[in-house]
């Protein structure tokens, strides 16, 4: 049902621009108004989400210890897995954001030999996720050739490396292959494993299908049903310089691609995709484990009357002495 719902929504998102572009005035709607609205929703929505997170206090460190904590000087601490300094935290965040360190620890449990529960490392999700995210980043960065004039050298260098093997014409980008392969794996992973399918929601299938739709429509436009990309750059340059124009002769496929991207931008701040911003607000990742070094005061604390051990000893010194209990002060 969740899968069916997602498929229907994607089909509608593809059909809308496909059928309506070409009708009077709707080129402007799909080429200019929808992308602007989508970008506004994306930017404002993401900032609102971030401000909402920033309003929540995180008074205590929640150390998820994956390594030796900073302790006695002769015990070697694990600076990245269990950082006690800001520098260590930056290192852990970099590992998390760039290489998905915590997902790398992913394990799977299975009943083996009929009754023996076995845990083993499962790197496939990590590999698929990492492949998708990096390919997506490079694909997005490559698209800056449509948004910048003159095209900066770094974009050209990236394109050169991405088309390194000079296979086919137009030359096939490696990231195009990787992103579709990774998304296909991540999608079928949810379908094939029955337990995973049981817990998968429309909110899990939909983003994967949406991204797959974006990637496939882009690839289709580049390699198969080619269109006038100079016209497309006129449109995108008009959008980013706030003087929008919709040139003639751009195929409906381009508008499908653009509409799916707009849908992604609108969907982004209100879905699980905001983990892009949320990862920076993960208390188990962005706080140093220095609870034993530094006292962290709860911001909503009222003054609590405490009874320290020294006072306790003072109060019961005679009784403790009589019972021959060890005392800090005689």
């Amino acid at each position: 049902m969740n899968l069916f719902f997602s498929l229907v929504v994607i089909a509608v998102l593809i059909a809308l621009p496909w059928l309506l572009v070409g009708a009077a005035g709707l080129d402007y709607l799909f080429g200019v108004i929808v992308p602007y609205v989508a970008l506004a929703v994306f930017v404002v929505g993401l900032i609102m989400r971030v401000l909402q997170w920033a309003r929540l206090p995180v008074p205590f460190r929640t150390p998820t210890t994956c390594g030796q904590q900073k302790s006695l000087p002769w015990i070697k601490p694990s600076r990245l897995e269990n950082p006690h300094s800001t520098l260590g935290v930056i290192g852990r965040m970099l590992l998390e954001v760039l290489f998905f360190r915590s997902l790398f620890r992913n394990t799977r449990s299975e009943l083996r030999d009929s009754s023996r529960l076995t845990y083993f490392a499962d790197k496939w999700l990590w590999a698929g996720g990492l492949a998708f995210h990096w390919a997506f980043l490079i694909v997005v960065a490559r698209h800056f050739r449509f948004f910048l004039e003159p095209v900066p050298w770094c974009v050209s260098v990236m394109e050169g490396l991405d088309s390194f093997f000079q296979v086919g014409l137009p030359i096939i980008y490696l990231t195009d292959v990787i992103i579709i392969a990774a998304l296909t794996y991540l999608f079928f992973r949810r379908i094939i494993n029955p337990r995973l399918r049981y817990i998968s929601l429309a909110a899990d299938y939909f983003p994967l299908l949406l991204l797959l739709g974006i990637a496939v429509s882009g690839v289709w436009m580049r390699y198969f049903d080619k269109t006038d990309i100079v016209g497309i750059k006129e449109l995108t340059m008009g959008l980013v310089t706030l003087s929008p124009v919709v040139p003639e002769g751009i195929s409906a496929l381009f508008f499908v691609h653009l509409f799916l991207v707009s849908a992604l931008l609108i969907y982004f701040p209100f879905s699980k995709l905001v983990h892009a911003g949320g990862v920076f607000f993960s208390p188990t990742r962005n706080l140093a484990n220095n609870n034993r070094v530094k006292r962290h005061i709860n911001p909503w604390d009222y003054p609590v009357k405490v009874h320290t051990y020294e006072e306790y000893e003072d109060e019961f010194r005679d009784v403790m002495k009589a019972a021959e209990m060890p005392l800090e002060k005689e």
């Binding site: 930017v43 920033a54 929540l56 004039e149 310089t241 040139p247 002769g249």
Partner: protein, 126 residues
């Protein structure tokens, strides 16, 4: 708001990234319109302009394979005219200036075709 400094810094970086194309293009002060192409000298292209705009690379790719692998050197155009399948001799005989025809769009789109790794540009020979 907690950690206001860091959060605001993050938001500023995000906004800078999103609006980067706007600043970049405004600072560049170059025309953002599509490049003007030099008019061809001949009257009839091997295919219509609309199709050529999207698919000229397919045509050249096919021509290369047919000439180099199969030895089929001639092509019959839409008006029945027999033409040589040649980038330097056929295409560039009408589109005489590579830098005012090919390069204008290729530079605009940051496309770096490897035609000229092997082919010589006729003007440069002369």
């Amino acid at each position: 708001m907690y950690d206001a400094g860091k959060v605001i810094l993050g938001i500023v970086v995000f906004l800078a990234l999103v609006t980067f194309p706007l600043w970049y293009n405004l600072a560049g002060e170059v025309s953002v319109a599509a490049p003007e192409l030099e008019k061809a000298e001949g009257s009839q292209c091997v295919q219509d302009a609309e199709w050529m705009r999207g698919h000229h690379m397919d045509l050249l790719d096919d021509w290369r394979d047919e000439v180099v692998r199969d030895g089929e050197r001639y092509f019959v155009g839409p008006d029945g005219q027999r033409m040589e399948k040649s980038l330097s001799n056929t295409c560039l005989s009408c589109h005489v200036n590579k830098d005012k025809f090919c390069d204008r769009c290729h530079n605009y789109m940051s496309v770096d075709p490897y035609c000229w790794d092997c082919h010589v540009i006729p003007k440069e020979v002369m």
